[in-house]
């Protein structure tokens, strides 16, 4: 039987490895992207994400501030790609004038719940709509966002279990293209999600938030 990493696509072949997947220790992780064991699925059972969802996407009357901020920071990238740095700066000013407000006290458990909601409901809705419209660009974005959210969820879970020990002697890196989060030494290979070279990862500094 073969088991496939749902983040980077790494294949664990029981026959070649000689150890049944179920007998690997619980802290075994994907050798490519460090995804934990529970993010592997047996080859046949691969979920195609087509599980029907009852409700359609809601339509916003007014686009929320946090989304406007991301729309404009994204258009700043669009301007940068066209070598229009002045326009990129103007878009960044528009972006900075909006920000989502976090309400009340937030805990890491809330972050975990919100991440699961994104994975299980919001992204499935995008995937269904994209499939119906045969929109391969949107399907590509969903695929990346799904993998990134899975790894984010697994790291949050590990932090809830291990606490500061998880990060005491490790750096945290983010792929500046797709948002893949990686804990460990400086990445040398390629991003397991979007395949950009390691130098596109950014090291996250502590200090002031």
């Amino acid at each position: 039987m073969k088991y496939i990493c749902q983040v980077c696509g790494y294949v664990y072949d029981e026959e070649a490895e000689g150890i049944p997947f179920s007998e690997l220790p619980d802290d075994w992780a994907c050798p490519m992207c460090r995804a934990p064991k529970n993010l592997f699925e047996a080859e046949e059972e691969s979920d195609d994400g087509s599980a029907a969802i009852a409700e359609g996407p809601e339509s916003f009357e007014k686009i929320p501030a946090g989304v406007l901020s991301a729309i404009f920071s994204n258009l700043a990238r669009g301007a940068e790609k066209q070598y229009r740095s002045d326009e990129a700066g103007l878009f960044r000013k528009l972006s900075a004038s909006f920000s989502a407000k976090a309400e009340g006290t937030e805990s890491i458990e809330d972050a975990s719940t919100l991440n699961s909601d994104f994975l299980e409901r919001k992204l499935k809705a995008v995937r269904n709509a994209a499939k119906n419209a045969s929109d391969r660009g949107a399907l590509r974005a969903v695929t990346w966002a799904e993998k990134v959210a899975r790894i984010v969820g697994s790291i949050i879970e590990r932090y809830m279990k291990e606490g500061e020990d998880l990060l005491r002697y490790s750096d945290v890196w983010v792929c500046s293209i797709c948002g893949f989060v990686y804990i460990g030494p400086e990445p040398t290979g390629i991003c397991p999600v979007c395949k950009v070279p390691g130098w596109k990862f950014e090291r996250i500094e502590g200090g002031d938030a």
Binding site: G66, V67, G78, A111, L114, K122, V148, I204
Partner: protein
């Protein structure tokens, strides 16, 4: 279609052949960004570059792909969810005393923003030139939220013309009566704006 040269600094090995072959000096700048206003699109620099650091891109971008309304709605909803995680992660990072948790939450905030941006690109906000992007800016100028930089937004609309508005193609004319030159939007009643000469007196340029 007019093209202009752009340089990828990561690939540039400073062999500088582009400086020697450029007929207008557009490749020789203090910030290493090729001067788009001087580039005539001849492609000599891209051909000469031994490290393939120069490529030719279109000067005017084609209209972006049209997006299905359900895809756009679902994308906005998903981006909203991710922006709430971003805000939550930023808040936890700001309030915690733990260095590891702060770094992790900053990473999640950055990651969430990147996912939102990527999804929004596929939900209609790819090109600054698109009517989707431009209509949004117009609507925010018309009814600005608190703190919205209206002057910057107007400047953006002035600098970046829309490239997919139907029926808005401009045509240039010269009036054979008063010799003034002007442009009219496609579909607009053709008449000289200076001397009001009728359509028959106008020459298309």
């Amino acid at each position: 279609m007019k093209r202009i040269a752009v340089r990828n600094l990561r690939l540039c090995t400073k062999d500088c052949l582009c400086l020697y072959v450029c007929p207008t000096g557009a490749t020789d700048t203090e910030d290493s960004i090729i001067d788009a206003s001087r580039c005539i699109g001849c492609g000599s620099c891209a051909d000469a570059c031994p490290s393939s650091a120069i490529s030719m891109v279109v000067a005017e971008y084609p209209p972006q792909q049209r997006k299905d309304k359900d895809v756009c709605d679902a994308v906005l909803d998903a981006a909203d969810c991710r922006s709430r995680l971003e805000a939550m992660a930023k808040k936890i990072a700001a309030e915690t005393e733990e260095d590891g948790l702060r770094r992790l939450m900053k990473a999640i905030a950055m990651s969430s923003r990147l996912s939102s941006e990527d999804l929004l690109r596929e939900g209609g906000y790819m090109l600054p030139q698109s009517s989707v992007s431009q209509d949004l800016i117009h609507s925010l100028i018309a009814d600005p939220p608190e703190g919205f930089p209206t002057a910057e937004a107007r400047e953006l609309l002035r600098r970046i013309p829309c490239n997919d508005r139907e029926g808005k193609k401009e045509e240039s004319y010269r009036c054979s009566v008063c010799f003034s030159e002007f442009t009219l939007d496609d579909g607009e009643e053709a008449a000289c704006p200076m001397c009001h000469a009728p359509k028959e007196k106008l020459e298309r340029l």
